[in-house]
């Protein structure tokens, strides 16, 4: 399957990737999840660059790493097909239509919003946006693992967020997300310790990972604050 892709010269492959992702970026409405169906049709169905399992792997990795899912999959597929320049071309391809379209809209947005009838329409649209965000959250909630840790973290974050909001205290989602991750790690390390069946070197590995992730997380934060 891969061989089919490699028949192309690398330059041609980079161009194909760019154009394919440009098309996907220009025609997918509704964000990352809507894009998944299109990506699968294009790369698994039509071009046969990936098998179905490989594709599912990419989606799973994309969901577990930060950033827009569309960017994650574009980078991964691009790298697989044509190395660094493939990933660069794919990522730029998927982003360029958005940047152009939104820039054009932005030019007229303020003037557009001044029309009386547009304001009428947006009064309703705002209500709809609240519903869309809420139902997206609900859908994701149903997909969560049903275990105590999930419910504890979910309720703690929701209560803190809403209380802070109405008291007017600044809330940092960044710190909140990293803290939730650390709680997950902490619980994992504790369960390892409790189980006597796990050999000592198992605990060593997990401790190493904790340190590694902590430095990564603080590095990210430090970098952003500079």
């Amino acid at each position: 399957m891969k061989a089919e892709g490699r028949k192309m010269s690398k330059g041609k492959m980079v161009l194909t990737l760019f154009l394919t992702f440009l098309k996907i970026g220009a025609f997918t409405f509704g964000g990352g999840y809507a894009m998944i169906a299109l990506l699968e049709e294009e790369f698994v169905g039509k071009r046969k660059w990936l098998t179905h399992e490989e594709f599912l792997d990419i989606v799973a990795i994309g969901e577990s790493t930060p950033g827009p899912l569309a960017i994650n999959s574009a980078t991964f597929i691009g790298y697989r097909q044509a190395g660094f320049f493939g990933s660069l071309a794919s990522t730029l391809g998927v982003v360029i239509p958005s940047v152009i379209i939104i820039t054009v809209i932005s030019l007229f947005f303020d003037r557009f919003m001044q029309f009386k009838y547009v304001q009428y329409a947006f009064e309703g649209i705002r209500v709809c946006v609240v519903y869309l965000i809420f139902s997206a959250g609900l859908r994701m909630f149903k997909g969560l693992k049903k275990k105590p840790l999930t419910y504890v973290i979910f309720s703690a974050v929701a209560v803190l967020f809403i209380t802070f909001y109405f008291l007017g205290i600044g809330f940092s989602s960044v710190i909140c997300i990293l803290a939730c991750g650390c709680v997950g790690l902490f619980v994992y390390v504790m369960t390892l310790r409790k189980k006597p069946a796990v050999p000592a070197d198992g605990a060593c590995v997990s401790a190493g990972e904790t340190v590694h992730l902590d430095t990564e997380a603080s590095g990210k934060e430090g970098g952003a604050e500079k």
């Binding site: 991964f76 990522t91 909630f141 840790l149 999930t150 973290i153 960044v174 997950g184 790690l185 990210k220």
Partner: protein, 191 residues
Amino acid sequence: MIYLHLFLSFLKIGAVSFGGGYGMISLVRETVVSNGWLTDTQMMDFIAVSESTPGPIAVNMATFVGFSQGGVLGAILATLGVILPAFLIMLLIASVMRTFMKRKGVNAFLEGVRPGVVALIISTAVTMGLTLLFSIGKDKLSINVFGIILLVVVAGIAIIYKQLVKKKISPIVLIMISAAISLAVNAVFGA
């Protein structure tokens, strides 16, 4: 320096935004409101535009906020900021760290992050909804009755559609329906 500020703000958002476009909304809202870049209402208006235009919601929002603060260059820098962490992380995973995601520690970290992100999304919707539907004025509470009715209608349409067609209704269709209802009601009864 607004350009650097935009770039770094969105870099930070891109680095911790698990859970796709919706996972990013609480991060973006916090950033734009605390910097005084946009109001909560403008943010909601723009989420609707991001939903109704092609492309990743995250990129659309970054471009919009970037443009509103720093023109075309601002739009490009904010977008670069939001995609750079995802790009670099995926590059690392695709090239040298193929098995990184399978590590137990990474998995444990994510199991903590996921419910947190979902809680952020739902709480964002709840706080947005409450401020939209109930505004506390000087000494009295004003209730947006039309908003509450519309919310029930929109939810009803979405749920009935899902029961009948066995598919989620497209966000764009739902946005257009609520725009039409609101337009008609306001035009007939006056604002």
